[in-house]
Symmetry: C2
Subunit: 220 residues, 2 copies
């Protein structure tokens, strides 16, 4: 019973925090949605802030379980790894397989870090970003400095996060009919990987026109 109630509160809190933010969400609303008494939050979590921290952690774990990273062996080409990396992030961001309020909450935490942020970065974001940098490194020229690799990594991340963090403006800029027609998750994965691979391809060529990574030289 106890675990049941805490889990009910955690998901109710996660959904509401994700939708309205910490400050705009009241303990009373959370308890109403979780169908428990107002004092349950303080009884089980101490106070609202500690509930929030737990809700963020819970969201991260649920998200990682819901859409895990694919497994790669040594022979997997980096182009495929990049595509699947982007696909994983986009799916985590946008696809609502059992709803995707989790990333919405985590994105909030990215934009305005609170107490819950540090663990999230250490446990999840840093290793995730390092993984991406490894893939980018494979697709880069050997003489590129680390900060160049990192900037490219940022360019990739930013494109993906954009559609979650600024989704309201995306809709206003292109219209909701266009959005449904051309901005399905699959379309976004295609565009972002194509755009990124093309950039890396041309940047390699500009650096060392003779030594291209791929034999067929097609960036797609």
């Amino acid at each position: 019973m106890k675990d049941d109630v805490t889990q009910q509160i955690l998901t109710a809190a996660g959904e509401l925090f994700a939708e309205h933010g910490y400050r705009e969400t009241t303990v009373r609303d959370i308890c109403k949605r979780a169908k428990v008494n107002v004092s349950a939050v303080n009884y089980y979590f101490g106070d609202k802030e500690r509930l929030y921290v737990q809700a963020v952690k819970n969201a991260r774990l649920q998200m990682e379980r819901r859409v895990p990273l694919p497994e790669w062996d040594a022979a997997t080409p980096p182009e495929q790894k990049l595509r699947q990396f982007v696909e994983t992030m986009i799916r985590r961001m946008l696809i609502s397989e059992g709803s995707s309020w989790q990333t919405r909450l985590l994105t909030r935490e990215i934009m305005e870090p609170t107490r819950a942020c540090e663990e999230m970065v250490q446990e999840s974001f840093l290793p995730f970003f390092q993984l991406l940098l490894g893939i980018v490194r494979e697709l880069s020229a050997a003489n590129w400095p680390d900060h160049k690799i990192e900037k490219i990594g940022m360019s990739i991340i930013s494109q993906i996060v954009h559609y979650r963090a600024q989704d309201r403006i995306v809709e206003l800029l292109i219209g909701s009919n266009q959005l449904q027609q051309h901005y399905r998750p699959h379309d976004l994965v295609n565009h972002i990987t194509e755009f990124t691979l093309a950039a890396l391809h041309a940047m390699r060529q500009a650096d060392q026109p003779s030594f291209d990574r791929t034999a067929s030289s097609s960036p797609n």
Copy 2:
């Protein structure tokens, strides 16, 4: 006297709203910073919400005045236009010439649109985005559909906005010393334009290898 007080309130409100958001900013804090009485907000603006709307509008106008768009004639090459477009946005985002809380406030409004959003989009963002799409169109192959141009525009915007919206996480991912060393505004402009032009270059080539836009074929 009257205009003086309203302006003092507007900038104080803008700075605080930008830093802490609408809900976390109290009317008392605003008045304290503006060195006016608490009731001044209600006297001059009606209520907190209408003050917020005015503060957002004020921020937009200040920003556009602070960093205006460059003037281009018909002969200006699109590569240069793109670079200057990126430079303008990065300067608006990051450079603190008389501080840059304005874009921070506008970015908040992008991420969570309120009453103040509609005018901002109509007056500023839509034309700005259309301008970008025009530049991208010049750098694209003739047969690319509109939604492809739009997605490329999104990729550019997202890279720029990223460093303002997710700046806290950027610092956590790469470290503050790296940030100061390699992520100055100038470095970001260089990277984003290089990355984008490289992508467009390779995407054109992949489409029609024989007809390259530029004679020298260097994406930089």
